[in-house]
Each structure stands twice: as structure tokens, then as C-alpha cells.
Amino acid sequence: MAIPAVVPSGPAVEIHEVTRRFGAKAALAGVSMSVSRGEIHALLGPNGAGKTTLLRILAGLTRPTTGTVRILGLDVLRQTAGVRRLVGVIPSGDRTFYQRLSGLENLIFFGRLYGFSFAEASRRAREVLEAVGLGGQEYLMTGKYSQGMQKRLAIARALLTDPAVFLVDEATHNLDPEGARRVREFVRGAADRGAGVVWATQRVEEIRGFADTVTLLHQGNVRFTGTTAQLVSLASPTRFLLKIRNGRLSADHLTLGLRTALGTHGVISSDASEDGEHYVMTVAEGSTLGQAIAAITAANFQVLSCHETRPEIEQAFVELTGGGPV
């Protein structure tokens, strides 16, 4: 039986002025952030932003060039062994298991490396397999698991020790929507039970309604840190989908008329739907949505509806990183 101990105090994760250089290149340049217990903190950024490097530093796999990293008050550099008992890592790789062993045997093996006896490791392994929905497939060789099943197995492994901090790296990048949703549910469940979660992703759409707080990294620099709502508030949407009553005009005539009406307030793209009613309008810099709509209605076009074409959170991402995948 494992020996219970008192969890050290302090925020789940505390990173202060961490830099990491690879030769001349700065992968991280003075990154600071803090994650409380029970909080899901998204580490958002495009490829090469430094997310994985930061997670590896948190896991004790890479040393920072400068700066301090603490997990529940323990210094990751000096108290590495203690930190490892508190952290559950869900890596981005698909093959982090022994493919010739069953899911159950893999978990028993890793459980024993965390100090569980064979009997305790077996019991815990069965419990967490059940929890992630792999209850009926515990004897199947891991090499025969689908990507989604392997990811769930990785979560099960992280759950084995009921860790106080989860480090999750691109956990859903190769999963179907249902699989991704289940993974997020497991992690949310862990956070609800008090775990602090650092969730690295480059997919903006994952954050909404899931992450409590966000740190946006770009080329190793923190471009934003705060709540998801605060990130959204930074967005200044410029693209809108308009529905126009088209009367008896053809789509080409209507497009031409809208462009003329809009003038310098924006651009109407002609690649809208072919129903002749929907048009994408990009508001010009210096103009507002109100001015653009006023210009259109002044030319006797009837605007039936107006929606942003890109969720505002994606817009914030693009504006803060100067592009990149969304």
C-alpha cells in the first residue's frame, strides 16, 4: 500500500520569469504564470510557441536556462522526485505504452513505479480503466488500441496516483470530436476534484467553455494571460456574414450595389453563398460596424441579419499572434 503524505501547499503551478534557450534561439523568453488548484489553465499558441518546452520544464524533463518553477510549492529543479509524485503527465505522443502488453499490464507496471504494491496497482489500474471507459478491453494488447483508446489509457495512467497537478500536451489533436469531448470531460472532472491542470493546445476552439484561464504564447513570449473571457474581450471582430433581402436583383448586381454603397467603410466579398442573400463583409480599418451597416441601409438595402464569421476567441488569437493555426 502506498504511503499517504500531506500535499505541499502553494499554487498548483507557479512559473516565474522562465527562459529557455536552444543555442541562439529563445524557446521561452521570461514566461510567468500561475495556476490555482481546481483550475484548468490553457497554454495556447501556434506551433513553435514554446508550449511543449514549458510542459517539459514542468515535468522535470528539461531544465530552464533561468527562472523558477514550483509545483505546489516544491521547486521542480531541486525537489524533482517529490514533484513527480504530485504530477500526472498526459503526453502528446501516441505511443507512450508498451505495445506488446495489455492496457491493464501497462498500468500495473507504471503504477508500481509510483510505489504501489502489485495488488494495489492492479486494483487502481482496473478502477481507472473503468473510469475512462476501457473496462472491457483491459486484456487487449495496447498495440491494438485505437488512437482514442490509447489517449484514454494515457489519462488512466495519469489518474493512477490521483495527482494534484495534470500536465496535458495536445491531448485531443488526433481525436474525433466525440473522443476529444470525452478527454476534456475526464480532465474537467479531475479539476472539479481539486487538481490544477495545464492544458497545452494550439486549437483555439478547445478553450471556450473549458479552460478557466489562458496564457497565450507566441515565439516564446507571453502575449496574454488572464481569463478566457478577458481574452475574448481583446478581439475586435471585422468580418461579418450579412443577410440581405435581395428582391429581384441578381446576386452579381446585388454584390456590385453593396460594394458601391459600402464605399470606403469595407469590402463585400463575392464568394458568399449562392442563394443570393448571404455576403461576407470585412469592415475597413478606421470604420465601425455601425458605419458600414448605415452606409448599406442608406442605399436602400435591407439588412436582415448580421453575424461575426469567426468566433471572437479565434480573432483574439490571430490578432495576438499575427496569424497561425486556429
Binding site: A2, I3, P4, A5, V6, V7, R20, F22, A27, R37, T53, R56, A59, G60, L61, T62, R63, A81, G82, R84, R85, L86, V87, V89, P91, G93, D94, R95, T96, F97, Y98, Q99, R100, L101, E105, I108, F109, F110, R112, L113, Y114, G115, F116, S117, F118, M141, T161, D162, P163, A164, R193, G194, A195
Partner: protein, 281 residues
């Protein structure tokens, strides 16, 4: 809220983890169980090759062991037995790290609260237990099929020599694994250096056939001393006192090699942490 931290610390809990490695590797080996037959077949072919080669060797040119001269077949069979222990022990750790790195499990092991020493031993524990069984099968085959005259009473002495050699094998394995961790493509150079060591220990040919400096270096080579002692015990029935003095020399050098080797492994891992290349292969 998570309040239970497992993982008691200390030597005993770390030693208990070795049984997890043993079970893991035994299960993986069982999943490849047909490979065991090809291993035995390989041993047979190797013995057959040396059997025919032995008919070409003049026994009068063989070294004297305890006042008697053994045939080449006996000489090489014992040589292969001890050298196999060394070679498998050394290469297994290296290949295990390379393999774990390639499959992505290496970093997963490193994020568990497991000491470097446990990991090193864990990589080879299955083979440490497997090799004596394999050795016994090889010896029985050599005796029954090729008429090699083995003094079975000497097996205990060979066991002592191999035990004394263990820290040397561990140290060399850890050092070479460190080289592969740090330099990745060092595998072939490391393999070549290893082959030179095995040849220079007199595994296949008596040392007196080599230049005199090879024999001189063999006096400080634990593998050469172990080979010499094992041959004397199994082929000439040498005394326990001779074996124990040989084991003492081996153990002294071996402990030094173990310290240097394990230190090199730790330095290599720390270097990779600094450079951020730990999981790359």
C-alpha cells in the same frame, strides 16, 4: 481533492520496482516466445561452427590450465558462455534505452519517481535472470552433442566469478548507454569497442596468440580474468582459493568501473536535460 501521494522513498521500495520491470520484460518476451527457439537454434549453429573449427586447431598450442591442456572446443565453449553474459548484459541496457526512446516510453519512465539506478537495473534485470538459464542450456548442448569435457563441480566457482563481474558489466553498460544517450549514433562505435574488448579478453582465441601488449592489458581486464578463471574451474578443476583471489581482483576493478559508468550515465541524462533533447532519438 487529491491528498494521497503514493511512492514511498528508500532503497527497499526502489528494489521492489525491479519486479515490475521483470514482469514487464517476461510478458513481452512471452509475447515473442517463438524467438526463444531461434535463440537456441542460433546457439547450436554457433557451437557447430566452433566444433568444426576446433578440428583445425592444434591442441598443443592451447594454453595450459591447471597443468592440463583443454581442447579448443572446451576453450571456446566456456569463452562463449562467459562472454555472452557480458555482451548481453552490456548491450541490453543500451538497446533498452534506445528502444524506449524510439517508442516514446523513455520519457514516460523518467517522469515517474524512479531512481536512475533502478532504471538501469530494471532495463537488465530480466536478462540477468535469463542468461544463466541460457548459459546452462548452451553448456548442456555442448557437452551432450559435442563431447566437451566439463567439470560440473566448477559451476559454483563460475557463479562467484560472474557475480564479481556484475558491477563491471553494469558499469560498462551504464557508461556506454550514457554515450548513446548523449551522442545517439554512437551505437556502432560502441559496438566495435565492445567487440575489441571481447576479442582482447581471449574469448575466441588464447591470448598468447596475440601481441604481448594485449596479454598485458588482459591482466587488468575483468572479463579476461573471469574467462581465465571460468576455464580453469570448468576445464581443469582449479581450487576455490584461486577462484576467490581472481574474484577479488575482478571485484576491485569492477567497483571502479561501476562508479565511473553510472556517473557517466547520470551526466549524460543531465546533459540531455540541459540541452532539452532527452526524448529525441
Amino acid at each position: 481533492m487529491m491528498e494521497a501521494i503514493p511512492s514511498p522513498v528508500g532503497i527497499v521500495p526502489e528494489l521492489k520496482k525491479l519486479s515490475a520491470f521483470l514482469r514487464r520484460d517476461a510478458l513481452i518476451a512471452w509475447s515473442y516466445r517463438r524467438g526463444a527457439f531461434s535463440d537456441i537454434a542460433g546457439m547450436l549453429v554457433q557451437a557447430l561452427l566452433f566444433y568444426f573449427l576446433s578440428s583445425l586447431v592444434d591442441t598443443s598450442r592451447m594454453a595450459q590450465l591447471g597443468g592440463t591442456r583443454s581442447g579448443y572446443m572446451g576453450f571456446v565453449v566456456v569463452g562463449l558462455t562467459v562472454a555472452a553474459f557480458y555482451q548481453i548484459g552490456v548491450t541490453r541496457m543500451m538497446s533498452a534505452v534506445q528502444n524506449e526512446r524510439f517508442t516514446g516510453t523513455f520519457e514516460t519512465l523518467l517522469v515517474t519517481p524512479t531512481s536512475y539506478a533502478t532504471l538501469q537495473l530494471g532495463f537488465v534485470i530480466y536478462d540477468i535472470l535469463r542468461i544463466p538459464v541460457r548459459t546452462a542450456i548452451f553448456l548442456v548442448l555442448a557437452v551432450t552433442l559435442f563431447g566437451v569435457d566439463i567439470r560440473w563441480a566448477g559451476l559454483g566457482q563460475v557463479g562467484v566469478l560472474i557475480l564479481a563481474l556484475l558491477p563491471f558489466v553494469w558499469g560498462v553498460a551504464a557508461g556506454l548507454t550514457g554515450a548513446v544517450v548523449a551522442f545517439r549514433q554512437a551505437g556502432s562505435i560502441v559496438g566495435l569497442a565492445n567487440l575489441v574488448l571481447v576479442l582482447g579478453s581471449g574469448t575466441y582465441f588464447p591470448l598468447q596468440l596475440f601481441p604481448s601488449w594485449v596479454a598485458a592489458t588482459a591482466a587488468l581486464n575483468p572479463l579476461a580474468i573471469a574467462l581465465n578463471g571460468a576455464r580453469a574451474a570448468l576445464l581443469a578443476g582449479t581450487s576455490w582459493s584461486t577462484t576467490l583471489s581472481q574474484a577479488a581482483v575482478i571485484a576491485t576493478i569492477a567497483v571502479g568501473a561501476w562508479i565511473v559508468g553510472t556517473l557517466a550515465f547520470q551526466i549524460a541524462l543531465e546533459r540531455e536535460r540541459r540541452t532539452g533533447n532527452l526524448g529525441l532519438y
